[in-house]
Protein backbone atom coordinates (compact mmCIF):
# COMPACT_ATOMS: atom_id res chain seq x y z
CA UNK A 1 0.00 0.00 0.00
CA UNK A 2 1.22 3.49 -0.81
CA UNK A 3 1.90 5.58 2.29
CA UNK A 4 -0.36 8.60 2.50
CA UNK A 5 1.65 11.62 1.38
CA UNK A 6 3.02 14.15 3.89
CA UNK A 7 2.49 17.05 1.57
CA UNK A 8 -0.01 17.31 -1.21
CA UNK A 9 -0.23 20.37 -3.42
CA UNK A 10 -2.81 20.67 -6.18
CA UNK A 11 -2.97 23.58 -8.59
CA UNK A 12 -1.68 25.89 -5.89
CA UNK A 13 -1.94 29.57 -6.75
CA UNK A 14 -1.03 32.80 -5.02
CA UNK A 15 -1.35 36.27 -6.44
CA UNK A 16 -0.85 39.63 -4.80
CA UNK A 17 -2.21 43.03 -5.64
CA UNK A 18 0.49 45.62 -5.89
CA UNK A 19 -0.22 49.32 -6.21
CA UNK A 20 2.18 50.98 -8.50
CA UNK A 21 2.87 54.39 -9.92
CA UNK A 22 5.39 56.19 -12.05
CA UNK A 23 8.13 58.12 -10.32
CA UNK A 24 7.80 61.88 -9.90
CA UNK A 25 5.72 64.38 -8.00
CA UNK A 26 2.86 64.58 -10.50
CA UNK A 27 2.12 60.91 -10.48
CA UNK A 28 2.57 60.83 -6.72
CA UNK A 29 -0.24 63.36 -6.42
CA UNK A 30 -2.32 61.48 -8.96
CA UNK A 31 -1.88 58.28 -6.99
CA UNK A 32 -3.54 59.93 -4.00
CA UNK A 33 -6.79 59.83 -5.91
CA UNK A 34 -6.50 56.96 -8.29
CA UNK A 35 -4.30 54.00 -7.57
CA UNK A 36 -3.35 51.54 -10.19
CA UNK A 37 -3.53 48.08 -8.77
CA UNK A 38 -1.84 45.31 -10.60
CA UNK A 39 -2.19 41.63 -9.94
CA UNK A 40 1.12 39.86 -9.60
CA UNK A 41 1.04 36.11 -9.85
CA UNK A 42 3.68 34.69 -7.49
CA UNK A 43 2.66 31.06 -7.79
CA UNK A 44 0.61 30.12 -10.81
CA UNK A 45 -0.88 26.68 -10.31
CA UNK A 46 1.71 24.14 -9.22
CA UNK A 47 1.12 20.56 -8.11
CA UNK A 48 3.40 18.05 -6.40
CA UNK A 49 3.36 15.43 -3.69
CA UNK A 50 5.93 14.55 -1.04
CA UNK A 51 5.92 11.18 0.68
CA UNK A 52 6.95 10.74 4.31
CA UNK A 53 10.71 10.74 4.75
CA UNK A 54 11.51 12.34 1.41
CA UNK A 55 14.10 15.11 1.14
CA UNK A 56 13.24 17.25 -1.85
CA UNK A 57 15.09 20.24 -3.23
CA UNK A 58 12.87 23.11 -4.24
CA UNK A 59 14.71 25.11 -6.86
CA UNK A 60 14.16 28.26 -8.79
CA UNK A 61 15.80 31.65 -9.35
CA UNK A 62 15.05 34.61 -7.07
CA UNK A 63 11.40 35.58 -7.37
CA UNK A 64 10.35 32.21 -8.75
CA UNK A 65 7.81 31.73 -5.97
CA UNK A 66 9.77 29.36 -3.73
CA UNK A 67 9.40 31.28 -0.49
CA UNK A 68 5.77 32.10 -1.24
CA UNK A 69 5.10 28.40 -1.69
CA UNK A 70 6.93 27.50 1.52
CA UNK A 71 4.88 30.12 3.35
CA UNK A 72 1.68 28.63 2.00
CA UNK A 73 2.78 25.15 3.00
CA UNK A 74 3.71 26.23 6.53
CA UNK A 75 0.51 28.21 7.00
CA UNK A 76 1.74 31.81 6.88
CA UNK A 77 0.02 32.61 3.62
CA UNK A 78 -3.44 31.73 2.48
CA UNK A 79 -3.49 30.47 -1.11
CA UNK A 80 -5.48 32.36 -3.73
CA UNK A 81 -6.48 29.09 -5.29
CA UNK A 82 -5.82 25.37 -5.33
CA UNK A 83 -5.39 22.95 -2.49
CA UNK A 84 -2.68 22.24 0.04
CA UNK A 85 -2.66 19.49 2.58
CA UNK A 86 0.23 18.95 4.99
CA UNK A 87 -0.04 15.94 7.29
CA UNK A 88 -3.75 15.99 6.58
CA UNK A 89 -4.16 19.60 7.74
CA UNK A 90 -5.01 22.74 5.85
CA UNK A 91 -1.93 24.83 6.72
CA UNK A 92 -3.39 28.36 6.79
CA UNK A 93 -5.86 27.38 9.50
CA UNK A 94 -2.79 27.00 11.71
CA UNK A 95 -4.37 24.47 14.06
CA UNK A 96 -2.19 23.76 17.06
CA UNK A 97 -2.04 20.06 16.21
CA UNK A 98 -0.58 21.07 12.83
CA UNK A 99 1.88 23.67 14.13
CA UNK A 100 3.30 21.18 16.65
CA UNK A 101 4.32 18.87 13.80
CA UNK A 102 6.03 21.26 11.43
CA UNK A 103 8.83 23.78 11.42
CA UNK A 104 10.00 26.52 9.10
CA UNK A 105 13.61 27.64 9.18
CA UNK A 106 14.49 30.77 7.26
CA UNK A 107 18.21 31.29 6.82
CA UNK A 108 17.79 35.05 6.70
CA UNK A 109 15.66 35.45 9.79
CA UNK A 110 16.03 34.28 13.33
CA UNK A 111 13.65 33.26 16.03
CA UNK A 112 16.14 32.95 18.89
CA UNK A 113 16.03 35.74 21.46
CA UNK A 114 18.98 37.93 20.64
CA UNK A 115 20.31 38.85 24.05
CA UNK A 116 20.15 35.60 25.92
CA UNK A 117 21.80 32.21 25.51
CA UNK A 118 20.12 29.82 23.06
CA UNK A 119 19.57 27.35 25.91
CA UNK A 120 17.01 29.77 27.39
CA UNK A 121 15.16 30.06 24.07
CA UNK A 122 15.14 26.27 23.92
CA UNK A 123 13.42 26.14 27.33
CA UNK A 124 10.81 28.58 26.09
CA UNK A 125 10.16 26.41 23.04
CA UNK A 126 9.86 23.38 25.30
CA UNK A 127 7.08 25.12 27.19
CA UNK A 128 5.35 26.46 24.07
CA UNK A 129 5.41 23.14 22.23
CA UNK A 130 4.59 21.26 25.46
CA UNK A 131 7.48 18.86 25.00
CA UNK A 132 7.62 16.37 27.86
CA UNK A 133 10.76 16.91 29.95
CA UNK A 134 12.30 13.51 29.14
CA UNK A 135 11.80 14.01 25.39
CA UNK A 136 13.15 17.52 25.64
CA UNK A 137 16.32 16.42 27.41
CA UNK A 138 17.04 13.70 24.92
CA UNK A 139 16.30 16.05 22.01
CA UNK A 140 18.69 18.69 23.34
CA UNK A 141 21.36 16.09 23.96
CA UNK A 142 20.96 14.63 20.50
CA UNK A 143 20.95 17.97 18.72
CA UNK A 144 23.91 19.15 20.77
CA UNK A 145 25.85 16.12 19.62
CA UNK A 146 24.83 16.25 15.98
CA UNK A 147 25.46 19.98 15.62
CA UNK A 148 28.35 20.23 18.08
CA UNK A 149 26.57 22.92 20.02
CA UNK A 150 28.23 22.29 23.41
CA UNK A 151 29.64 25.63 24.57
CA UNK A 152 27.50 27.70 22.15
CA UNK A 153 24.32 27.14 24.11
CA UNK A 154 25.55 29.17 27.07
CA UNK A 155 26.59 32.27 25.12
CA UNK A 156 24.20 35.11 24.32
CA UNK A 157 23.01 34.60 20.75
CA UNK A 158 24.29 38.01 19.66
CA UNK A 159 27.85 36.87 20.45
CA UNK A 160 27.67 33.90 18.11
CA UNK A 161 29.01 33.85 14.58
CA UNK A 162 26.53 33.50 11.71
CA UNK A 163 27.24 29.80 11.36
CA UNK A 164 27.03 29.14 15.08
CA UNK A 165 23.75 30.99 15.21
CA UNK A 166 22.35 29.00 12.31
CA UNK A 167 23.19 25.77 14.10
CA UNK A 168 21.35 26.99 17.19
CA UNK A 169 18.41 28.13 15.04
CA UNK A 170 18.15 24.68 13.51
CA UNK A 171 18.27 23.03 16.90
CA UNK A 172 15.59 25.36 18.31
CA UNK A 173 13.37 24.67 15.31
CA UNK A 174 13.69 20.91 15.67
CA UNK A 175 13.33 20.42 19.42
CA UNK A 176 9.73 19.35 19.02
CA UNK A 177 10.79 16.77 16.43
CA UNK A 178 8.62 18.05 13.59
CA UNK A 179 7.54 15.48 11.03
CA UNK A 180 7.66 18.05 8.27
CA UNK A 181 10.59 20.46 7.96
CA UNK A 182 10.62 23.47 5.64
CA UNK A 183 14.07 24.93 5.12
CA UNK A 184 14.39 28.22 3.25
CA UNK A 185 18.02 28.82 2.40
CA UNK A 186 19.38 27.20 5.55
CA UNK A 187 23.01 27.60 4.49
CA UNK A 188 22.89 31.14 3.16
CA UNK A 189 25.96 33.17 4.05
CA UNK A 190 27.75 30.26 5.70
CA UNK A 191 31.32 29.26 4.90
CA UNK A 192 31.96 26.01 3.09
CA UNK A 193 32.81 24.00 6.21
CA UNK A 194 29.73 25.18 8.02
CA UNK A 195 27.57 24.52 4.96
CA UNK A 196 28.83 20.96 4.94
CA UNK A 197 28.14 20.62 8.65
CA UNK A 198 24.55 21.87 8.31
CA UNK A 199 24.01 19.65 5.28
CA UNK A 200 25.25 16.56 7.09
CA UNK A 201 23.00 17.42 9.98
CA UNK A 202 19.89 17.71 7.82
CA UNK A 203 20.65 14.31 6.29
CA UNK A 204 21.13 12.78 9.74
CA UNK A 205 17.96 14.33 11.09
CA UNK A 206 16.00 13.01 8.13
CA UNK A 207 17.40 9.49 8.55
CA UNK A 208 16.93 9.35 12.28
CA UNK A 209 13.38 10.62 12.45
CA UNK A 210 12.08 9.94 8.98
CA UNK A 211 11.03 13.59 8.67
CA UNK A 212 9.88 14.96 5.36
CA UNK A 213 12.13 17.82 4.27
CA UNK A 214 11.47 20.44 1.62
CA UNK A 215 14.53 22.59 1.08
CA UNK A 216 15.32 25.64 -0.99
CA UNK A 217 18.88 26.66 -1.60
CA UNK A 218 20.96 28.53 -4.10
CA UNK A 219 23.91 26.31 -3.27
CA UNK A 220 23.70 23.34 -5.57
CA UNK A 221 26.06 21.46 -3.31
CA UNK A 222 23.25 21.40 -0.72
CA UNK A 223 20.85 19.97 -3.24
CA UNK A 224 23.28 17.39 -4.61
CA UNK A 225 24.22 16.19 -1.15
CA UNK A 226 20.70 15.98 0.23
CA UNK A 227 18.10 15.55 -2.45
CA UNK A 228 17.55 12.72 -4.86
CA UNK A 229 14.50 14.49 -6.10
CA UNK A 230 14.07 18.12 -7.07
CA UNK A 231 11.09 20.28 -7.88
CA UNK A 232 12.00 23.22 -10.08
CA UNK A 233 9.79 26.27 -10.49
CA UNK A 234 10.23 29.44 -12.48
CA UNK A 235 7.85 32.39 -12.76
CA UNK A 236 5.49 30.50 -10.48
CA UNK A 237 5.22 27.52 -12.82
CA UNK A 238 6.45 24.00 -12.35
CA UNK A 239 9.29 23.23 -14.76
CA UNK A 240 10.47 19.89 -13.54
CA UNK A 241 9.69 17.34 -10.87
CA UNK A 242 11.82 14.23 -10.67
CA UNK A 243 15.20 12.80 -9.88
CA UNK A 244 18.14 15.11 -9.93
CA UNK A 245 19.88 12.77 -12.38
CA UNK A 246 16.94 12.99 -14.76
CA UNK A 247 17.06 16.78 -14.59
CA UNK A 248 20.55 16.57 -16.04
CA UNK A 249 19.40 14.22 -18.76
CA UNK A 250 16.41 16.30 -19.69
CA UNK A 251 18.04 19.69 -19.77
CA UNK A 252 21.55 19.03 -20.95
CA UNK A 253 22.22 17.58 -24.30
CA UNK A 254 25.97 17.38 -23.63
CA UNK A 255 28.57 15.62 -21.59
CA UNK A 256 32.13 16.71 -21.03
CA UNK A 257 35.12 14.52 -21.75
CA UNK A 258 38.42 15.31 -20.08
CA UNK A 259 41.36 13.80 -21.93
CA UNK A 260 44.84 13.59 -20.46
CA UNK A 261 47.54 13.04 -23.04
CA UNK A 262 51.14 11.91 -22.84
CA UNK A 263 53.70 14.68 -22.30
CA UNK A 264 54.32 16.80 -25.32
CA UNK A 265 51.46 15.31 -27.25
CA UNK A 266 48.80 17.74 -26.21
CA UNK A 267 49.83 20.51 -28.56
CA UNK A 268 50.03 18.28 -31.54
CA UNK A 269 46.80 16.49 -30.76
CA UNK A 270 44.81 19.62 -30.11
CA UNK A 271 43.88 20.19 -33.68
CA UNK A 272 42.67 16.66 -33.99
CA UNK A 273 40.74 16.77 -30.72
CA UNK A 274 38.78 19.66 -32.15
CA UNK A 275 37.30 17.32 -34.68
CA UNK A 276 35.83 15.08 -31.94
CA UNK A 277 33.94 17.82 -30.18
CA UNK A 278 34.02 21.41 -28.97
CA UNK A 279 37.13 22.23 -26.93
CA UNK A 280 36.05 24.20 -23.88
CA UNK A 281 39.26 24.36 -21.92
CA UNK A 282 42.83 23.33 -22.17
CA UNK A 283 45.44 22.99 -19.50
CA UNK A 284 48.91 21.56 -19.59
CA UNK A 285 48.55 17.98 -20.72
CA UNK A 286 44.79 17.88 -20.60
CA UNK A 287 41.91 19.00 -22.75
CA UNK A 288 38.19 19.27 -21.96
CA UNK A 289 35.70 18.64 -24.71
CA UNK A 290 31.96 19.06 -24.94
CA UNK A 291 30.23 16.29 -26.84
CA UNK A 292 26.55 15.65 -27.60
CA UNK A 293 25.17 13.17 -25.05
CA UNK A 294 24.28 10.46 -27.53
CA UNK A 295 27.68 10.65 -29.27
CA UNK A 296 29.64 10.18 -26.07
CA UNK A 297 30.34 6.42 -26.31
CA UNK A 298 31.37 6.61 -29.94
CA UNK A 299 33.61 9.66 -29.46
CA UNK A 300 35.22 8.16 -26.37
CA UNK A 301 36.07 5.00 -28.29
CA UNK A 302 37.60 6.94 -31.17
CA UNK A 303 39.73 9.13 -28.89
CA UNK A 304 41.03 6.10 -27.03
CA UNK A 305 41.89 4.37 -30.30
CA UNK A 306 43.45 7.37 -32.06
CA UNK A 307 45.39 9.27 -29.40
CA UNK A 308 48.07 8.55 -26.81
CA UNK A 309 45.69 8.88 -23.88
CA UNK A 310 46.86 8.52 -20.26
CA UNK A 311 43.51 9.16 -18.71
CA UNK A 312 40.00 9.92 -19.86
CA UNK A 313 36.92 10.84 -17.85
CA UNK A 314 33.37 11.43 -18.96
CA UNK A 315 31.43 13.83 -16.78
CA UNK A 316 28.00 15.32 -16.58
CA UNK A 317 28.10 19.09 -16.65
CA UNK A 318 28.11 20.64 -13.17
CA UNK A 319 24.62 20.97 -11.72
CA UNK A 320 24.94 24.77 -11.64
CA UNK A 321 25.25 24.73 -15.41
CA UNK A 322 22.23 22.45 -15.71
CA UNK A 323 20.13 24.72 -13.54
CA UNK A 324 21.21 27.73 -15.51
CA UNK A 325 20.03 26.04 -18.68
CA UNK A 326 16.74 25.07 -17.08
CA UNK A 327 16.04 28.65 -16.12
CA UNK A 328 17.26 30.05 -19.40
CA UNK A 329 15.06 27.69 -21.39
CA UNK A 330 12.05 27.69 -19.14
CA UNK A 331 11.81 31.42 -18.82
CA UNK A 332 8.61 33.30 -19.56
Amino acid sequence: MEPSPSIQVKQLRKSFFVTERESGVGSALASLFRRRREEVVAVGGISFTLNPGEVVGFLGPNGAGKTTTLKMLSGLLQPTGGEVSVLGHVPWKREKAFLRQITLVMGQRNQLVWDIPAADSFELNRAIYRIPMADYKSAVQELTELLELGPLLRKPVRNLSLGERMKCELAAALLHRPRVVFLDEPTIGLDVTMQRRVRAFIAQYNQRFGATVLLTSHYMADVEALCRRVVVIHHGKLLFDGELAALRGQFTAHKTIVVKLEDGEADGALGRLGSYGEVISREEGSVTLRVPREDTPRVTGRILADLPVIDLTVEDPPIEEVIERVFAGGGS
Binding site: K96, Y129, R130
Partner: protein, 266 residues
Protein backbone atom coordinates in the same frame (compact mmCIF):
# COMPACT_ATOMS: atom_id res chain seq x y z
CA UNK B 1 3.18 21.93 31.86
CA UNK B 2 0.60 24.00 30.07
CA UNK B 3 0.19 27.72 29.92
CA UNK B 4 1.71 28.31 33.36
CA UNK B 5 4.91 26.68 32.19
CA UNK B 6 4.96 29.01 29.19
CA UNK B 7 4.47 32.01 31.47
CA UNK B 8 7.26 30.90 33.77
CA UNK B 9 9.69 30.35 30.90
CA UNK B 10 8.71 33.58 29.19
CA UNK B 11 9.28 35.40 32.45
CA UNK B 12 12.80 33.95 32.69
CA UNK B 13 13.49 34.89 29.08
CA UNK B 14 12.28 38.46 29.53
CA UNK B 15 14.12 38.80 32.81
CA UNK B 16 17.35 37.54 31.27
CA UNK B 17 16.96 39.94 28.32
CA UNK B 18 16.26 42.90 30.59
CA UNK B 19 19.33 42.27 32.67
CA UNK B 20 21.26 42.94 29.45
CA UNK B 21 19.68 46.38 29.23
CA UNK B 22 20.05 47.58 32.80
CA UNK B 23 21.01 51.09 31.75
CA UNK B 24 18.07 51.57 29.36
CA UNK B 25 15.61 50.11 31.86
CA UNK B 26 16.96 52.47 34.48
CA UNK B 27 16.52 55.48 32.20
CA UNK B 28 12.96 54.50 31.19
CA UNK B 29 12.05 54.09 34.83
CA UNK B 30 13.49 57.48 35.70
CA UNK B 31 11.38 58.89 32.88
CA UNK B 32 8.24 57.37 34.40
CA UNK B 33 9.21 58.91 37.73
CA UNK B 34 10.02 62.32 36.32
CA UNK B 35 6.86 62.82 34.30
CA UNK B 36 4.39 62.84 37.23
CA UNK B 37 6.98 64.66 39.32
CA UNK B 38 7.03 67.54 36.85
CA UNK B 39 3.21 67.80 36.85
CA UNK B 40 3.31 67.65 40.64
CA UNK B 41 5.74 70.55 40.87
CA UNK B 42 3.79 72.63 38.34
CA UNK B 43 0.39 72.03 39.96
CA UNK B 44 1.82 72.69 43.46
CA UNK B 45 3.11 76.01 42.23
CA UNK B 46 -0.28 76.84 40.72
CA UNK B 47 -2.06 75.87 43.95
CA UNK B 48 0.29 77.98 46.06
CA UNK B 49 -0.13 80.96 43.74
CA UNK B 50 -3.93 80.76 43.92
CA UNK B 51 -4.22 80.72 47.67
CA UNK B 52 -3.39 77.11 48.51
CA UNK B 53 -5.79 75.10 46.36
CA UNK B 54 -7.06 74.59 42.81
CA UNK B 55 -10.36 72.88 42.04
CA UNK B 56 -10.47 71.11 45.40
CA UNK B 57 -6.83 70.03 45.36
CA UNK B 58 -4.45 71.42 47.96
CA UNK B 59 -0.68 71.20 47.56
CA UNK B 60 -0.45 68.01 49.62
CA UNK B 61 -3.43 66.51 47.78
CA UNK B 62 -1.74 67.19 44.47
CA UNK B 63 1.28 65.39 45.90
CA UNK B 64 -0.92 62.42 46.84
CA UNK B 65 -2.55 62.45 43.39
CA UNK B 66 0.66 62.40 41.40
CA UNK B 67 2.51 59.94 43.63
CA UNK B 68 -0.37 57.46 43.40
CA UNK B 69 -0.58 58.28 39.68
CA UNK B 70 3.08 57.35 39.34
CA UNK B 71 2.49 53.94 40.89
CA UNK B 72 -0.65 53.34 38.85
CA UNK B 73 1.23 54.25 35.67
CA UNK B 74 3.96 51.80 36.64
CA UNK B 75 1.39 49.01 36.87
CA UNK B 76 -0.56 49.93 33.75
CA UNK B 77 1.93 51.04 31.11
CA UNK B 78 2.49 48.95 27.97
CA UNK B 79 4.69 49.39 24.92
CA UNK B 80 2.88 47.04 22.57
CA UNK B 81 1.84 49.90 20.31
CA UNK B 82 5.45 50.77 19.62
CA UNK B 83 6.39 47.19 18.96
CA UNK B 84 3.87 45.84 16.55
CA UNK B 85 4.88 47.61 13.42
CA UNK B 86 8.44 46.45 13.94
CA UNK B 87 7.27 42.88 14.46
CA UNK B 88 5.31 42.89 11.26
CA UNK B 89 7.93 44.61 9.11
CA UNK B 90 10.80 42.49 10.36
CA UNK B 91 9.01 39.20 10.15
CA UNK B 92 9.23 38.17 13.79
CA UNK B 93 5.44 37.99 13.74
CA UNK B 94 5.76 35.18 11.21
CA UNK B 95 7.60 33.06 13.74
CA UNK B 96 5.04 33.96 16.37
CA UNK B 97 2.23 32.83 14.06
CA UNK B 98 3.85 29.46 13.51
CA UNK B 99 3.99 28.71 17.21
CA UNK B 100 1.15 26.76 18.77
CA UNK B 101 0.26 29.61 21.13
CA UNK B 102 -1.49 32.97 20.76
CA UNK B 103 1.12 35.78 20.62
CA UNK B 104 -0.80 37.86 23.17
CA UNK B 105 0.51 35.56 25.88
CA UNK B 106 4.12 36.39 25.13
CA UNK B 107 3.43 40.12 25.17
CA UNK B 108 1.50 39.91 28.41
CA UNK B 109 4.23 38.05 30.27
CA UNK B 110 6.85 40.30 28.78
CA UNK B 111 4.96 43.29 30.10
CA UNK B 112 4.37 41.93 33.58
CA UNK B 113 7.97 40.77 33.90
CA UNK B 114 9.39 44.16 33.07
CA UNK B 115 7.16 45.75 35.69
CA UNK B 116 8.20 43.36 38.40
CA UNK B 117 11.80 44.10 37.58
CA UNK B 118 11.42 47.87 37.83
CA UNK B 119 8.99 47.84 40.75
CA UNK B 120 11.60 48.13 43.55
CA UNK B 121 13.02 51.28 41.99
CA UNK B 122 9.51 52.72 41.67
CA UNK B 123 8.70 52.00 45.30
CA UNK B 124 11.93 53.62 46.40
CA UNK B 125 11.11 56.71 44.36
CA UNK B 126 7.59 56.82 45.79
CA UNK B 127 8.96 56.61 49.35
CA UNK B 128 11.36 59.47 48.74
CA UNK B 129 8.57 61.58 47.18
CA UNK B 130 6.28 60.85 50.12
CA UNK B 131 8.96 62.06 52.53
CA UNK B 132 9.67 65.18 50.51
CA UNK B 133 6.13 66.24 49.50
CA UNK B 134 4.17 64.97 52.52
CA UNK B 135 1.00 63.98 50.67
CA UNK B 136 -2.29 63.70 52.50
CA UNK B 137 -5.04 61.27 51.66
CA UNK B 138 -7.30 59.18 53.81
CA UNK B 139 -9.44 56.77 51.82
CA UNK B 140 -12.17 54.83 53.58
CA UNK B 141 -11.16 51.22 54.15
CA UNK B 142 -13.56 49.88 51.48
CA UNK B 143 -12.06 52.21 48.88
CA UNK B 144 -8.53 51.10 49.73
CA UNK B 145 -9.68 47.49 49.41
CA UNK B 146 -11.32 48.11 46.03
CA UNK B 147 -8.17 49.85 44.80
CA UNK B 148 -6.45 46.52 44.10
CA UNK B 149 -9.10 45.04 41.77
CA UNK B 150 -9.57 48.49 40.18
CA UNK B 151 -5.85 48.68 39.49
CA UNK B 152 -5.70 45.20 37.99
CA UNK B 153 -8.76 45.91 35.84
CA UNK B 154 -7.22 49.21 34.76
CA UNK B 155 -4.13 47.36 33.58
CA UNK B 156 -6.21 44.69 31.84
CA UNK B 157 -8.32 47.25 29.99
CA UNK B 158 -5.28 49.29 28.96
CA UNK B 159 -3.36 46.24 27.80
CA UNK B 160 -6.26 44.85 25.78
CA UNK B 161 -7.15 48.22 24.22
CA UNK B 162 -3.57 49.04 23.29
CA UNK B 163 -2.85 45.55 22.01
CA UNK B 164 -5.90 45.86 19.77
CA UNK B 165 -4.89 49.32 18.55
CA UNK B 166 -1.39 48.04 17.88
CA UNK B 167 -2.92 45.68 15.35
CA UNK B 168 -3.61 48.69 13.11
CA UNK B 169 -0.12 47.90 11.85
CA UNK B 170 -1.72 45.13 9.79
CA UNK B 171 -3.55 47.73 7.71
CA UNK B 172 -1.45 50.86 7.69
CA UNK B 173 2.16 51.83 7.57
CA UNK B 174 1.31 55.07 9.40
CA UNK B 175 1.26 53.43 12.80
CA UNK B 176 3.17 56.27 14.41
CA UNK B 177 0.32 58.66 13.53
CA UNK B 178 -2.20 56.35 15.19
CA UNK B 179 0.07 56.07 18.21
CA UNK B 180 0.59 59.80 18.42
CA UNK B 181 -3.12 60.55 18.33
CA UNK B 182 -3.82 57.94 20.94
CA UNK B 183 -1.11 59.11 23.32
CA UNK B 184 -2.16 62.74 23.18
CA UNK B 185 -5.74 61.74 23.94
CA UNK B 186 -4.57 59.46 26.75
CA UNK B 187 -2.38 62.15 28.27
CA UNK B 188 -5.38 64.45 28.79
CA UNK B 189 -8.25 62.02 29.20
CA UNK B 190 -6.71 59.45 31.54
CA UNK B 191 -5.73 62.06 34.12
CA UNK B 192 -1.99 61.82 33.69
CA UNK B 193 -1.44 65.53 33.23
CA UNK B 194 -4.11 66.85 35.57
CA UNK B 195 -6.90 65.37 37.68
CA UNK B 196 -9.93 64.86 35.42
CA UNK B 197 -12.08 67.00 37.75
CA UNK B 198 -10.02 70.03 36.66
CA UNK B 199 -10.88 69.51 32.99
CA UNK B 200 -13.82 71.16 31.21
CA UNK B 201 -17.04 69.22 31.67
CA UNK B 202 -17.18 68.00 28.06
CA UNK B 203 -13.72 66.44 28.33
CA UNK B 204 -14.70 64.75 31.57
CA UNK B 205 -17.68 63.20 29.84
CA UNK B 206 -15.47 62.05 26.98
CA UNK B 207 -12.98 60.54 29.43
CA UNK B 208 -15.75 58.55 31.11
CA UNK B 209 -17.39 57.39 27.89
CA UNK B 210 -14.13 56.34 26.33
CA UNK B 211 -11.92 53.79 28.11
CA UNK B 212 -9.33 56.41 29.18
CA UNK B 213 -10.60 57.20 32.66
CA UNK B 214 -10.89 53.50 33.49
CA UNK B 215 -7.35 52.75 32.39
CA UNK B 216 -5.54 55.08 34.81
CA UNK B 217 -7.50 57.79 36.57
CA UNK B 218 -10.17 55.65 38.23
CA UNK B 219 -7.96 53.68 40.65
CA UNK B 220 -6.20 56.93 41.59
CA UNK B 221 -9.49 58.67 42.36
CA UNK B 222 -10.55 55.64 44.36
CA UNK B 223 -7.45 55.49 46.55
CA UNK B 224 -7.56 59.23 47.13
CA UNK B 225 -11.04 58.82 48.61
CA UNK B 226 -12.65 61.06 46.00
CA UNK B 227 -15.40 58.63 45.04
CA UNK B 228 -18.47 57.49 46.94
CA UNK B 229 -19.50 53.83 47.00
CA UNK B 230 -21.92 54.25 44.12
CA UNK B 231 -19.33 55.95 41.89
CA UNK B 232 -16.83 53.23 42.79
CA UNK B 233 -19.20 50.45 41.76
CA UNK B 234 -20.10 52.22 38.52
CA UNK B 235 -16.37 52.53 37.83
CA UNK B 236 -15.71 48.84 38.39
CA UNK B 237 -18.68 48.00 36.16
CA UNK B 238 -17.35 50.33 33.44
CA UNK B 239 -13.95 48.63 33.69
CA UNK B 240 -15.57 45.22 33.44
CA UNK B 241 -17.59 46.32 30.41
CA UNK B 242 -14.56 47.79 28.65
CA UNK B 243 -12.54 44.67 29.35
CA UNK B 244 -15.24 42.45 27.88
CA UNK B 245 -15.65 44.71 24.86
CA UNK B 246 -11.88 45.00 24.50
CA UNK B 247 -11.38 41.26 24.51
CA UNK B 248 -14.10 40.84 21.94
CA UNK B 249 -12.50 43.50 19.74
CA UNK B 250 -9.06 41.99 20.23
CA UNK B 251 -10.26 38.62 19.03
CA UNK B 252 -12.11 40.03 16.03
CA UNK B 253 -9.42 42.49 14.98
CA UNK B 254 -6.68 39.92 15.44
CA UNK B 255 -8.46 37.45 13.18
CA UNK B 256 -9.13 40.06 10.55
CA UNK B 257 -5.56 41.33 10.78
CA UNK B 258 -4.02 37.93 10.42
CA UNK B 259 -6.27 37.29 7.46
CA UNK B 260 -4.94 40.43 5.79
CA UNK B 261 -1.39 39.50 6.75
CA UNK B 262 -1.68 36.05 5.28
CA UNK B 263 -3.36 37.40 2.17
CA UNK B 264 -0.87 40.08 1.22
CA UNK B 265 2.38 38.63 2.34
CA UNK B 266 3.92 37.66 5.60
Amino acid sequence: MGIRDVYRQQFRTTFASFVQYRASIFIWTIERILEPLIYLVVWSAVAKATGGSVGGFSVSQFAAYFIVMMLVTQVTYTWVMYEYEYKIRHGSLSFALLRPIHPVHTDLVDNISSKLITLPLMLLAATVLVLVFKPTFSPPLWAAALFVPALLLAFSVKFVVEWTLALSAFWTTRVSAVNQGYFVAALFLSGQMAPLSLLPHSLQVAASLLPFRWMISFPVELLLGRLNARQALIGLAAQGAWLALGLLLLRTVWRAGVRVYSAVGA
